[in-house]
Symmetry: C2
Subunit: 184 residues, 2 copies
């Protein structure tokens, strides 16, 4: 199957995502036809598992309006302008958790919701951490809590942590630390 975009209309522009309506020519099984796909466009995001030398990780406890819930997450955010995934991870770690890292390891990359959205998310392990002044954005009501990584994994298993990137980041970190070499 081949897909060639022949038109794009922007139906919605938001602060984080846009919605595109693409007209596409599809070639499959020797036939050609036109179709339309709506796509939620996201610039991409980075997330960080901040692992301190005492075996704790920094988790963010914050209210998320879309889900109407205060939830546990690892520090994360959307790529800003032409920013790289690595720069975004370092910025979010500093802004949300008030830390800088001396050592970065890529843990995993995934599509969050490939059925309707193009978001790609990359998760990094941050080690050799030093604390600096957090630069929380005014709108973000968030609390930073240091939790032993074993407890965080138990929270993931029990359903106390319900955020996809946080679950994946913690389990990838667990496998990395167990010597499996992490995921790619």
């Amino acid at each position: 199957m081949q897909c060639e975009r022949i038109d794009r209309e922007t139906l919605y522009r938001g602060r984080v995502v846009d919605v595109w309506r693409d007209t596409v020519r599809i070639r499959a099984d020797g036939e050609s036809r036109e179709s339309r796909y709506d796509v939620v466009h996201h610039p991409g995001a980075s997330a960080v598992v901040p692992l301190f030398s005492d075996g704790t990780v920094a988790l963010i406890h914050q209210y998320r309006y879309p889900v109407g819930d205060t939830i546990w997450e690892i520090p994360a955010g959307t790529l800003d302008g032409g920013e790289s995934y690595e720069a975004c991870a370092a910025r979010e770690l500093e802004e949300e958790a008030g830390c800088r890292a001396g050592r970065w390891t890529h843990l995993t990359t995934f599509y969050t919701t490939p059925g309707f959205c193009d978001e790609e998310l990359r998760v990094f392990l941050a080690e050799d951490l030093t604390e600096c002044q957090p630069a929380n954005e005014e709108d973000e009501h968030l609390e930073v809590v240091r939790v032993p990584i074993g407890d965080a994994l138990a929270w993931a298993a029990s359903g106390k942590i319900r955020d996809a990137k946080t679950l994946l980041g913690l389990f990838a970190a667990r496998d990395y630390l167990a010597g499996a070499g992490g995921w790619r």
Copy 2:
């Protein structure tokens, strides 16, 4: 922090998601103010790890226009009308993988992208499988492949599988089968 919605405007209506613009009264730290939040509304989704008695899982290889890629996923789909998560899982298993299950186990529930979207996704393990006629929707170019679960886990670790729900479903199934009792 308390959030009370005082108005909702629908900015976009799509086949899978809508976009809402909510006007909200926020009470925090003894103060009250109005704010606006845009939310991508998704009805919710179910996904299934179909585990056969020979130790293989059924994976779907399908082209996903939003990410411009043919990717590996577990059977999954969006709740249809007032459908329950359990009914959706059974329907998608039949439609996409051509199977019915005699035994269902809830593995994990998570928010896919709580920063901008309200989607909640529940993953189930399906066992005691019998094959029936797949009822693929015409628009879905998908191929069903049976893979030993150990190979699927290796594909997850290597980056060959890059879909969040599939990674989480496979790792939750691994923990469940290892006797950890699964996640909740």
